[in-house]
Amino acid sequence: MTPERFHTIVEAYGADPRRWPEQERADAQAWAAAHRAEADAVLAESAAIDAWLARDQVAPPARELQRRIVESAPVRRPSWFRQHVWWSGAAIAGVGLTGGLAGALAVSFFVLTGAASSMHEPSVHESSYLTTGFGGSPDDWSDE
């Protein structure tokens, strides 16, 4: 370690040896210990700038910014969510299918029961109920 190199290190990296290049740190500290007065003058000047630099603090990111960034990422849904969606879809399809079948069954039931009952009791759809007052038999006019 030369005096020039020690000066260069301190002027570039500051007075804190932890910030000095790792491969030169031990040599620079040894040089400073051996040349206390000269080293202290250089270190003191640089320590003042270090103190200024240390004052500059940046506020941590706001939660809202973190949330926006996380939400901008393409993410795969967790397995429980995929299963939930699958089961929900299957359930909706199942309900629809069941409803369809029930409807078809009901229609079939009424058709069959209607046909059977018409053999024993008057049907509301008897032909006389379906004709109008002007739909009488042509025999009505035979007396003329």
């Binding site: 002027e11 910030r19 003042a48 500059d56 960034i69």
Partner: protein, 186 residues
């Protein structure tokens, strides 16, 4: 590269769209990224835009990330610096210092005003540095990158980096002459 990348496993999980990994990566990288951009641009809102844009680049790059080509953190710094320089070129003027952070309610008004004035002074001094000097100082001092990593990131030699750092410190000393850094009394 023989040194293992500490972020490689996490980035691989982000590439596989693991939501836990996404949150972990944001928590790990966002504060450093925001600090870098804030100091480079001197503007908090612009820095937040840069941070968001940098993460969009991460989401695109993560599925294709290959360990060994470059450290993820170094690549991320390069992305953020490029985004900062795009904005600095767009401004075509020196960035302005950001407003002081919210005051500490526990400090007395006089102490608070004094602290705020000193904080604003160092920000102005940093903002007034030539961009390359500020970049060298931010990467080496604040981001705590090694001299080799910072020089590689800037595309210069370690000697050139040391020259930039020394000039940055001399400029700061000139700007801040006659004003003590004081103690943070808040």
């Amino acid at each position: 590269m023989s040194e293992q990348d500490p972020d490689a496993e996490l980035v691989a999980r982000v590439g596989a769209q693991d939501p836990v990994a996404v949150r972990t990566l944001v928590a790990r990288k966002l504060p450093r990224l925001l600090a870098l951009a804030t100091r480079m641009l001197g503007d908090r809102m612009e820095a937040e835009d840069v941070a968001q844009e940098a993460f969009v680049r991460i989401w695109k790059q993560a599925p294709r990330w290959r360990e060994g080509e470059a450290k993820f953190d170094t690549w991320l710094h390069r992305v953020a610096l490029n985004l900062c320089y795009d904005r600095l070129r767009g401004q075509r003027e020196e960035p302005v210092a950001e407003l002081p952070d919210e005051a500490d309610p526990a400090a007395s008004p006089d102490v608070r005003i004094e602290n705020e004035a000193r904080d604003a002074r160092i920000r102005e001094a940093l903002s007034a540095l030539p961009a390359r000097q500020r970049e060298a100082l931010v990467l080496n001092y604040y981001q705590e990158l090694s001299n080799v990593d910072a020089a590689a990131l800037m595309g210069i030699t370690v000697d050139a980096l040391e020259s930039l750092l020394a000039r940055a410190r001399r400029n700061l000393r000139t700007q801040l002459a006659g004003i003590g850094p004081g103690e943070d009394k808040s």
